[in-house]
């Protein structure tokens, strides 16, 4: 089931973001506090809908707001504007502790750096048991231990008993990331966010962790969001992918479509830049210039206007809207949309 970006008031979504915005106040100097209206826009009005079992990849360069998106989705940071519905309930402002605990139990995170994500003074057993203790799951330590072992088995750390008493520094990166995953799964969440889950791991063990995450997500019918700068990873994990640029989603569609026929000039550049084992198959490069606008002072109209080789007058004036060009493929570029997605760019010119 595909995730739709513009729901017509449909129900049944696990995650629904409506025009979510995150701004950080910018301090001008030590003594003068915020100047009126000076804000760094990290996430700029994002809509997102995910059903049970959906997997979405969010890709983009550093500073595009993808990590802030992850933090917003897990309510590790509060949004400045917009609404967040989780399982049909409004979780934009969670005032009471009980509501927050209920949310925390259902939404979990897999961290980028497994070497940092576990308390160095906790054994594996204690790390995984922590969430159970916090949420009061299981009536006795024995029962909890049972859950811990089950979680370890699920992430293929077997025999589970041999890992219980280990400390993080006694384990390899791949094993640690499995423990992190086990800790996230032990609460039986319905929503999982993974922020660059394998970027700190060695290549030869990456595949194992990726395949495991994919299997578990399918088996538990988890709704998952994978955040990565590496588009080539997302194709293994996600049905859909959103490309972010300066806090906005500029393109959204099936991961395969985005990798094989990206439409937005920025996505094109991104895809073309991925290094590959067979350089003869590389698509033509899109020459983007390096004038990245400051997120404190965004231009009017299209955010890519100063870098895009195809920029026209229309791009500078009006704000670009995310538009469906058919088959659930959404693009935030008037030039592309005006041609129903058939616009081709060759040699730095729109054809």
């Amino acid at each position: 089931m595909a995730a739709s970006m513009n729901p017509k008031g449909e129900d049944g979504y696990v995650v629904e973001l409506r025009k979510i915005k995150k701004e950080y106040p910018v301090r001008q100097s030590l003594f003068r506090k915020k100047k009126q209206g000076q804000c760094l826009t990290a996430v700029n009005g994002v809509d997102l809908c995910l059903k049970e079992g959906d997997s979405l990849g969010i890709a983009g360069e550093s500073g595009c707001g993808k990590s802030t998106m992850g933090r917003l989705l897990l309510k590790l940071t509060e949004s400045t504007e917009g609404e967040y519905l989780f399982n049909g309930e409004d979780v934009t402002d969670l005032r009471s502790k009980e509501e927050m605990l209920k949310f925390r139990r259902q939404a979990q995170l897999v961290f980028q750096n497994p070497f940092e994500a576990l308390n160095p003074r906790f054994t594996v057993q204690r790390s995984i048991m922590e969430p159970l203790t916090i949420h009061g799951i299981g009536s006795s330590t024995e029962e909890r231990l049972g859950f811990v072992k089950e979680a370890l088995r699920k992430v293929n750390l077997q025999p589970a008993e041999s890992f219980l008493e280990k400390y993080p520094h006694q384990m390899s990166g791949g094993q640690l990331q499995r423990v992190v995953l086990a800790r996230a799964l032990v609460l039986k969440p319905i929503f999982l966010v993974a922020d660059e889950p394998v970027s700190m791991l060695d290549v030869s063990v990456r595949a194992g962790v990726l395949n495991l995450m994919k299997e578990i997500a399918e088996e538990m019918r988890l709704t998952t969001v994978y955040i990565s700068h590496d588009l080539s990873l997302l194709q293994y994990l996600c049905d859909h992918t959103a490309i972010m640029y300066l806090g906005q989603i500029v393109e959204y569609g099936k991961t395969e479509d985005i990798l094989t026929k990206p439409l937005h000039p920025y996505s094109k550049a991104l895809v073309a830049a991925i290094p590959t084992l067979d350089p003869s198959k590389r698509p033509e490069e899109v020459p983007l210039s390096n004038h990245v606008p400051s997120p404190v002072d965004l231009p009017e109209g299209c955010l890519l206007q100063d870098r895009c080789p195809y920029v026209g007058n229309a791009c500078r004036g009006s704000e670009q809207v995310l538009t469906d060009v058919g088959d659930g493929h959404l693009v935030r570029c008037d030039l592309v949309c005006a041609n129903n997605g058939n616009l081709k760019f060759e040699g730095g010119k729109a054809v």
Binding site: E61, V203, S204, R206, H229, I274, P275, T276
Partner: protein, 337 residues
């Protein structure tokens, strides 16, 4: 004669637990103007080795044996004073995290002035002219010479680091993970820049990276290292299309490739061996699905298979390559028994 000829190089570390054989008998050569990719996972010894070549090593590291012939001269025998002249002038290093190697309290130009006046014996005026030239060469705006490093973006800092390495027109540049910390688009630009500079200046390049796809796109030759040993080397295209060593095959399996949508990702079970007490046979044998008894007992010698592409590997089962390649593509092969 090769520009750089590394012969049976060893670099060991003294550690609390004993002596770690981080680089253990590595040989390879680089011709003038050629580019070589040194590939392997963390801890395989690739960084240790280049640090050994330029003799900028950790305090507890030493070179028990081996020759590093640069232009016929053995660098391991050179007194430190002369070695200092060789660095920068003949071979230079773009260090890992080069972006942080610029001193944050001085303008970027100061780093160039220092190298050019001290090592290159230029006057300040000449140094400035050369710096402007270098900046233009790597695609940076010379107007930004007076800026401080924090005013540069990641890509700009990386370009500056490359320009600095090229300051005295060395014949060989060693780049340690030059693009790892960069975003893909900037990464692509920097790689293109390196490629262009190489052909313009007839520069030899050794690129250290964990990312074989970066090597695939930029290097003529490749050396694959595992646990301090060379397991395979040859021309990049040959090695990637026709891998001889099971580790190379496994590494390729584990690499996601956006142009091969149907490719299945397979990981190599286990982890690299302890280098203080390495296995007696092939160091990859404990993780190798094709390991025989002999592999565990004896160390396989390096054998060249294809003279034209200087392609060879250190494996006892080189005669069965085709069979192994076919098996290696299947998931079941790599699953633990």
């Amino acid at each position: 004669m090769s520009l750089l000829d590394v012969r049976d190089m060893r670099v060991y570390y003294k550690t609390k637990k004993g002596i770690a054989q981080a680089v253990d008998g590595v040989s390879f050569s680089v011709e003038p103007g050629q580019s070589l990719g040194l590939v392997g996972e963390s801890g395989c010894g690739k960084s240790t080795m280049v640090n050994g070549i330029i003799r900028v090593m950790a305090k507890n590291a030493f070179i028990p044996s081996g020759e590093v012939l640069f232009d016929g001269q053995d660098l391991t025998l050179l007194p430190e004073k002369e070695m200092r002249n060789v660095r920068w002038r003949d071979l230079s290093l773009i260090p890992q995290a080069a972006m942080d190697s610029l001193n944050p309290v001085y303008p970027v130009e100061d780093a160039f002035t220092e190298v050019l006046t001290l090592k290159g014996n230029m006057t300040k005026k000449e140094a400035h002219a050369r710096t402007v030239e270098l900046f233009t060469m790597v695609g940076l705006d010379p107007d930004r010479l007076g800026n401080f490093p924090h005013e540069y973006s990641g890509g700009m800092k990386q370009r500056a680091a490359i320009a600095l390495a090229l300051a005295l027109e060395p014949r060989l540049v060693i780049a340690d993970e030059p693009v790892t910390a960069l975003d893909v688009i900037v990464q692509r630009q920097v790689l293109n820049e390196l490629k262009r500079l190489r052909s313009e200046l007839n520069l030899a390049l050794i690129m250290i990276t964990h990312d074989i796809s970066v090597v695939a796109e930029t290097c003529d030759n490749i050396v694959v290292m595992y646990a301090g040993k060379v397991v395979e080397k040859g021309s990049t295209q040959e090695v990637l299309e026709n891998p001889l060593h099971p580790y190379t095959m496994g590494l390729e399996n584990a690499f996601p490739d956006p142009r091969q949508q149907d490719k299945e990702l397979i990981s190599i079970e286990g982890s690299p061996p302890d280098l203080v007490n390495p296995p007696s046979g092939c160091r990859f044998a404990p993780r190798c699905p094709f390991a025989m008894e002999r592999c565990l007992a004896e160390e396989p010698p390096y054998e060249e298979v294809d003279e034209e592409h200087q392609h060879g590997a250190a494996c006892f089962r080189l005669s069965e390559t085709l069979k192994l390649q076919k098996l290696a593509k299947e998931v079941e092969t790599w699953q633990p028994a």
